[in-house]
Every structure is written in C-alpha cells, then in structure tokens.
Symmetry: C2
Subunit: 257 residues, 2 copies
DNA sequence: TACTCATGACTGGTATACAATATGCCAGGA
DNA sequence: TCCTGGCATATTGTATACCAGTCATGAGTA
C-alpha cells in the first residue's frame, strides 16, 4: 500500500555531471542538459538557516564576555525572512552538535565550552587526525603530500610575529587538509565539527610566538614522516602534536571556566 | 530590547539548594523538605520519537533485503499518537547521524551503508577506541580494568559455538566499556553512533567461530596491556584489533553493496 | 499495440495557530 | 518592610493548514 518501492536517488544527483558537454558526441545526448550546474540543487530553508546560524555562532567571540548569549527563534526567523519551523530544525541540529542549548520555555543559549570540554575536544581531534595520518601514508599520492609542504613555504624559517594571524589560518588549513587526505568521510565529518568548536577558542590560543615556531617544526616533521610513508611515526607525531596543544590548554587556558 | 539577560539556569536548577535558609539550625531542617525529586524532567515528544525511531531502525534487519525501506512521516506520527512536527525533528537528527535520508517530496529512506562506508566507520571507531585505550592506561582505576577481565570469565577457554550469540553481546559491551572508561564525553558520544551503525551489520559479521576465538585472544592481550599501563601497546592492540575487523569486512563482506 | 500527456493522489517543506510553562511584576496583608 | 499569591507576558513545544514537487495511472491517439 504505502510501501511501493522507488529508486531513491542520491540527494543531489551529483552524477548528473557529464564527462564532456559536447565531446565527440560519443555519449551524445546523455549529456545534453545545459550543465546547469548547481543552482544549488536543494538548499532548503532549513539548510540555509543552519549554515547561516553556524557561521554566525562560530564567528562570535563568545569567550570574551561571560554573559549568557541568548538567541531568539522568532527574531531570527524574522531576520531571515522565514518562519520559525526551519529555524527550529536548524537549532535542533546545532544542539546535537553542541553549539547551542535549548532550554524549554526559557530560550536558546550559545554553549561556552569548559576547559575540560575543550581538552576533550582536542583529545578526540588527536584521535581522528592521527588515524588520518596513518591512512595518508598508505593511500595518498606524493603530489597530495607535496601540497602540504607548499603551505609552509613562507613560514619555513620561523613565524614572523607580524604573520601570526596569517599563520593561524595556514595552521588550521594544514590540519583540515590532513583529515581530508584520509579520504574517510566519517573522519572528515566528525572532524569538521571539532574544528568549528576550536575555531571559536582559537582567538585565545594563538599569538604566542614560540608556540608557533615549535608548531612549524612539528608540522615539518609530520610532513617528512608522511613523505617517508612511515605509518606509525606519522601517527605518533600527529597525535603528540595535538595532545601537546591539549596540555598547553590544560596549563594556561585559565580564561576558560 | 528582546535581549535582556537572564540567569539561564542549569537545566534543572540544581543550584537551588541553599547553604542554610535559617542558619543556626545547622543541618537540621535542611532535609526537612520531602526530598521531592525534580519530577523527572519530561522528555519532549521529539526526544521520545527520536529514541523510538532509532531503536526501531537499529533493530531492523535492513541488510536482509535490498528493497528500499521507506518511512512515512504521517503514518509514524499517527502510530505514535503525536503530530508530524516532533517526528520531523527526530528525523532531521537521524539524518544528520546517517541513519535515514530525507529526499524532498520523495520520501524518507533508511540508509544502507555500502561496504566502503562500513570500512570507514570501523576505521573511525579504531581511531576513537585506540585513543580511549591510551587514556585508560593513564587514568582508569585498577578496579575498572578488572571489570573488563571479568566480562570474559566464561569465555576464556574459547568461544563455545553454542555461546556465539552470547559472546557477541559481551563483545560489544567490551568495546563500549573501553570507550566509556576513557571518561571523555566527546569520544563517548561519537562512538555511540558508530556502535549503533555496527549493531545493524552485526548479524552478518558474527557466527564465525575462529574469528570469535581470535577475538577473545585479542581482548585478553588488550586487557593485559591496560593492566600494565602500557599506553602505546594498548593503543596499538586496540587499533589493530579494530582494523582487523575492517580488513575482514573488506575481504568477505560481499553482501554489502 | 505502443506511446504521449494530462490529471490527481501522495509526500515532504513551510507557515501559522494553539497550548503549556517559566518568569517578572504588583497588589495586598502581616 | 517583607513576604505571598495571582496575573500578565514571554518563549518554546506541538498541532494543523497549506504549498509545491513527484509519480502512477489511464484515457486518447497514431
């Protein structure tokens, strides 16, 4: 009755990407469609609201003040020009990801992580990225690894104090790239949220020149291990690099809590 | 305007316990109140629907048939005796966790993992659990580790074929306990979903006696490493044990895809 | 017979209305 | 002055109504 079977389509029908729009007409009009690429197939309001809210939250400097930051469903819905429903669905997801807390009949509050929680986040990140490093030594191409080295071309001789900001960006990109090169979607998805959380506390953890210098040395050692395809060593270096940050936070991040 | 700040209360206002309302009465009538429990903070319909749906999905033997399994929002709402709204919110969360896929205007489908995806899940699990093993060697009590050993008291001499089912349960419990003993909430939460996914394919991966025997040997070695507080060795054993399962799936799990 | 195409039922997405509850304020009494 | 209790208000939780795609069906035609 209500259970007729249907072909359920990959969400975005990405397979619609044709090999060659005109080509030798070999695959002729299989690809006739005007290559109307994206038109962003289906960002529903829910997804748009989710993305907008997540960006807004991550961009906040929530650790500057200790006042509770409250979000208003109805106001946000008005600002976005949509109804509460998609906003609520986005909020529900953000709650499950640990960015906000929904208190019934009270309000929605942006979550501020405690020091202990930040350490837990970094530890989990260490687990994911060190596994990613293992996988890279086994499956990544030499060219992909070379890309990592190129990132640090301008910093190789130590982080110029004036470039600390720029370095911070490269730093994050480096770690994200490692995760991405693992080609393991589960790792990638899990790490993405961890990164989002860490971006929020980044403003507080950067700016110390000697840490940046040591960080670059660590990164170079990691790249060398990856190039040498030293699985165990790459894992160890990545893990210890991340856990080193955890230690640093444990000792010096008194602004948390 | 709409942003007056309010004390946002930890959910249950646990802090309501005052030091002493009157004072000189020492601790006397501190306990005078009938000790009313917080009246069980009522789980919203959304949470109930989420739990019910997740249980239902995990309990399904979705890999038995290849037909698409479709869920009907309206019908489920009727069966639960609630409206579509909380059901939808539950579905949205289940989608973000990879259990269902919402296809606009088409339907909601239970996700069947491909072989590649299962391997990715297991690999991510290896990353999390091996980190948990590290943490255990550093922080868990001897008693907690002893609990692990007790789990296998009845299996130590090899898995009786008749007990394979029972062993399968203990097996899962063993791994969940390792994660839990890490005391890292991020690891625990991430792993929970991975376990849920793996429970779904468990029916297909168990039942091979020699694998069970080797599994027990692995587990014993892991316990010994934990007892000896050998951080690196514990990590390595846990990781290789999990990756061994990944290999096994890669080679023999042709029923996937 | 085979194919086209209009039609209508069905489904998830969105908007809106209603219900439940936590909080603040104020009047009234001891 | 301080406490108590009820009411107004604010805010989320839930239900319902409506909208826009999607697909199956079957009549009509070559």
């Amino acid at each position: 009755m209500s259970n007729r079977s249907r072909p359920p389509h990959r969400v975005n029908a990405r397979a619609r990407n044709r090999p060659s729009p005109v080509g030798a007409q070999v695959a002729s009009n299989v690809a006739r469609q005007p290559a109307l690429d994206p038109i962003d197939a289906s960002p529903s309001f829910k997804h748009k609201a989710y993305a907008a809210l997540k960006n807004a939250i991550v961009a906040m400097d929530i650790y500057r003040s200790r006042d509770d930051i409250r979000l208003d469903e109805r106001k946000l819905a008005q600002d976005f020009g949509i109804s509460r429903t998609p906003v609520r669905e986005a909020m529900a997801q953000l709650e499950s990801e640990g960015f906000v807390r929904l208190v019934p009949r009270r309000g929605i509050y942006v979550v501020r992580k405690t020091k202990r929680e930040v350490i837990e986040l970094i530890t989990a990140w260490a687990a994911l990225e060190s596994m990613a490093a293992r996988l890279i030594t086994q499956t990544a191409s030499a060219e992909e690894i070379a890309g990592l080295r190129r990132m640090f071309a301008t910093f190789e001789r130590g982080a110029d104090a004036a470039k600390l900001d720029e370095y911070s960006e490269v730093n994050i990109e480096f770690h994200q790239t490692i995760i991405r090169l693992s080609r393991n979607k589960v790792l990638i998805d899990m790490a993405e949220n961890l990164f989002a959380h860490m971006r929020m506390i980044r403003r507080k953890t950067i700016g110390e020149k000697d840490r940046a210098d040591r960080s670059i040395q660590d990164h170079m050692a990691i790249i060398e291990a990856l190039e040498a395809r030293s699985t165990d060593r790459a894992e160890e270096l990545v893990r210890d690099h991340a856990l080193g940050l955890a230690d640093h936070v444990a000792r010096f991040a008194d602004y948390l809590d």
